[in-house]
Amino acid sequence: MEQDAYLVMRDIHKSFSTVEVLKGANFSVKRGEIHGFLGGNGAGKSTFMNILGGIYSKDSGEILIDGEAVEFSSPMQAIQHGISFIHQELKLFSMRSVADNIYMSRLPQKGPLRLIDDKKKNEMAREWLNRIELDIDPRTVVENLSIAEQQMVEIAKALSHQAQIIIFDEPTSSLTKKETEILFRIIRKLRDEGACIIFISHKFDEVFEICDRVTVLRDGRDVGTVAIRDTTVDELVSIVIGVKLDQYYPELNVIPQEQIALEVRGFCNDKLKNVSFSLRRSEILGIFGLVGAGRSELARAIFGLDACQSGTVIINGEATRITSPSAAMKKGIGFLTEDRRGEGLVLGMDINNNLNLPVLSSLTVPVVNFLRAKRMGRNTQAAFERFHIVARSPNQRVKELSGGNQQKVVLAKWFLTDPEIFILDEPTRGVDIKVKAELYEQIVNLATAGRSVIVISSEAPELLGICHRILVMRNGEIAGEFSRADATEEKLVKCAMGGQ
């Protein structure tokens, strides 16, 4: 397998303090290949790729590029060896121009005073942009670009460094369908020019669409490399999670009650155009739409995070005004934001405190405001069991957890408050398949317990799997409504994209 490989990583070990994350992982990529890299949360994918990108240094093992052993201890050294890492969180200077971003590490100079030759810089940058067919002015400030364009800038930067190995970490996570297609075209073009592409993703459909081979990492070891042609989704899933998963979505036995828990009438603001809908008790309502269709904005408006120019909210038959999240919480609404790092968690705080944050007032001794540590601990214990949070201890800082585990903490936190109405914005984002299945079950359990749930997602299958009813949003409006019986993925996507 390794004979014609350009990049070979052999027996890589890496530990953080006492935790061994990589236990002898192997990986190899050929020239002109798009190689998928899969693994569940905590499998060690990021650590492995960060070693390749020069961000972490390995404890043992070797890296060969074109047959030669290489060592590097910084991202810059990795770049010099032709390795570019395009992170999910792009590492760009958002206030600088595109050309500055591409050439920051080697700005061209001219004249005896060695002033920056901006003209030359822009021309050179334009060439790289042309190579990836990105038609933007190199002088454009990066923050004015869309995420897709910013990603392209990262690719141009990688190419300008003569990158032979390009790592994409979940590159499509915030792209629209069309942007994804463009990205894939570029990636294929790079492959055809002989580059090694490493494609990290959670989305199997994309992996099947673009990858030539796939390597799966599980529990710090590589557990298989397969050619995409010779495998199926089911097979790949079972490699990733290590066991065969029979039932992915739970049975939806609960029937929504007649009573309307929440009604939204005529919501308008700069992102929403006259949105109205209602939610019954024990109902799971899905909201589907593309990125930017106004799904999250609707949730934010209901929860009081964004202002509304007009519109009313009726909760349990009573018209109310919600102007702040705390007001919303008092009315029994819980909201799981899509931006968990920014708004869902206090990253510097430990799990225990994060979990109990929304319910602190019920955990304090009257008058003196001391916290009841025991009750907090009990809550945390319950959350750990219910959500299978993997952490060293409840006192570990949330910042140090893997993305999937962070998501579990956010969910657990809101489940603790036990609201009447749950709004979950992309609850399964960045969560591995096993946890996803658990989450779906938790959501259905909520409905069974008489709660009402709104699930916002851009993954149609998951909404089809667990929702009673699905609303489709497009351009800030509700473009369609489908009952569980007659919704299909095709119908939802068509409606979301305006193709009716």
């Binding site: 009257p366 008058v367 003196v368 405001n369």
Partner: protein, 343 residues
């Protein structure tokens, strides 16, 4: 609700403490006197002098004279502390003096109002307080020693008036630079200067600029004042050292001419500092009021001594100031009347 309750609790506790504090000091009057007696008879005569600052010639003269007089009269210990113009520092220094069991504390205050709490502490401890140079606006003061600041300021105005006598009504424009607003001495000088100007018809104050005695602000103030009123004929600053900034500013805008030149801008100040007295002969400035800084120091010690001997002490003791101009500076210096030019 809980929070309110907690607040109330805290308030009650605080009130309780305050009550304890006041009851403890209730019979302060008699015990204070006893304390004073006790200290007097403890075998050590200690006098404290809390100075706003000791930098510059004048306060140094004051401190030197203070020490010399104290030694001459037979004080066992002299404690002189400088607060670097910080009233907080001065307050803690005065508290230190109380702890050190000074028999009398003299204060050249950094701030006439700010220092009052420390004076009250002295009162409670039964230590007499003497205000030196600058007044103090509260507490019980045994005696205030100062020059007649009003008349010092007025003397400068009178000199300006005399020199321009005969000019038409309101034709002589005067710039009045105001120094530290926290200094009673400077405030009184300013009042005196205004009074003086009023008595001369031709003098008119066109601008009063508060500068907090900051050299940079004075500089800018002079430049800007001349932009607004190009024909200013006289400038008054509260003390001599600030004249340096004024001269620099006049040089920048090309308005600096020596005495005798008809374009000369008259400069007057109070203190009698060495450099400004030397300037008088050179024709840079016109008048300085030489204060008796040595007198401040020695009078304070004398008053303290008298009080400790059981004699009565006057509430205010005024030292004599001497107006100095180019014509009398040599004579006065020669006869040792000027602290700035002695030795």
């Amino acid at each position: 609700m809980k929070r309110a309750l907690a607040l109330v609790l805290i308030c009650i506790m605080a009130l309780g403490l305050a009550a304890c504090g006041t009851s403890g000091g209730g019979d302060g009057e008699s015990s204070a006197n006893e304390a004073f007696e006790a200290r007097l008879n403890d075998g050590v005569n200690r006098i404290g002098f809390a100075m706003a600052d000791i930098t510059g010639q004048a306060p140094q003269r004051e401190a030197d004279a203070f020490r010399a007089k104290a030694e001459e009269l037979g004080f066992d210990d002299v404690m002189i502390l400088s607060a670097e113009n910080s009233v907080e520092t001065q307050i803690s220094q005065i508290r230190d003096m109380i702890t050190a069991e000074c028999d009398v504390i003299c204060i050249y205050s950094a701030d006439a109002d700010g220092v009052v709490p420390a004076v009250q502490s002295c009162n409670e401890a039964g230590i007499p307080v003497i205000a030196v140079d600058r007044g103090i606006n509260g507490g019980e003061i045994l005696c205030s020693i100062a020059s007649n600041n009003i008349s010092d300021g007025r003397d400068v105005a009178n000199y300006f008036g005399l020199m321009t006598a005969g000019e038409s009504e309101d034709s002589v424009k005067v710039l009045h630079i105001i120094g530290n607003l926290s200094s009673t001495a400077q405030k009184e000088r300013a009042d005196g200067f205004r009074l003086g100007c009023e008595s001369w018809g031709q003098l008119t104050i066109v601008d009063e600029v508060a500068t907090e005695a900051d050299a940079d602000r004075i500089y800018n103030a002079v430049v800007d004042a001349f932009r607004a009123t190009p024909d200013i004929k006289a400038i008054f600053v509260p003390y001599d050292q600030l004249l340096s900034s004024v001269v620099s500013a006049l040089q920048e805008i090309g308005m600096f001419y020596p005495v005798g030149d008809e374009r000369h801008v008259m400069l007057g100040a109070v203190d009698g500092a060495t450099e400004q007295l030397e300037w008088l002969s050179a024709g840079t400035n016109d008048i300085s009021i030489s204060l008796d800084f040595e007198g401040f120091g020695s009078e304070a010690v004398t008053a303290a001594w008298n009080y400790m001997q059981g004699q009565s002490v006057a509430e205010t003791i005024q030292t004599t100031s001497i107006p100095v101009v180019a014509g009398n500076v040599d004579y006065l210096a020669g006869n040792g009347y000027l602290w700035g030019l002695s030795k």
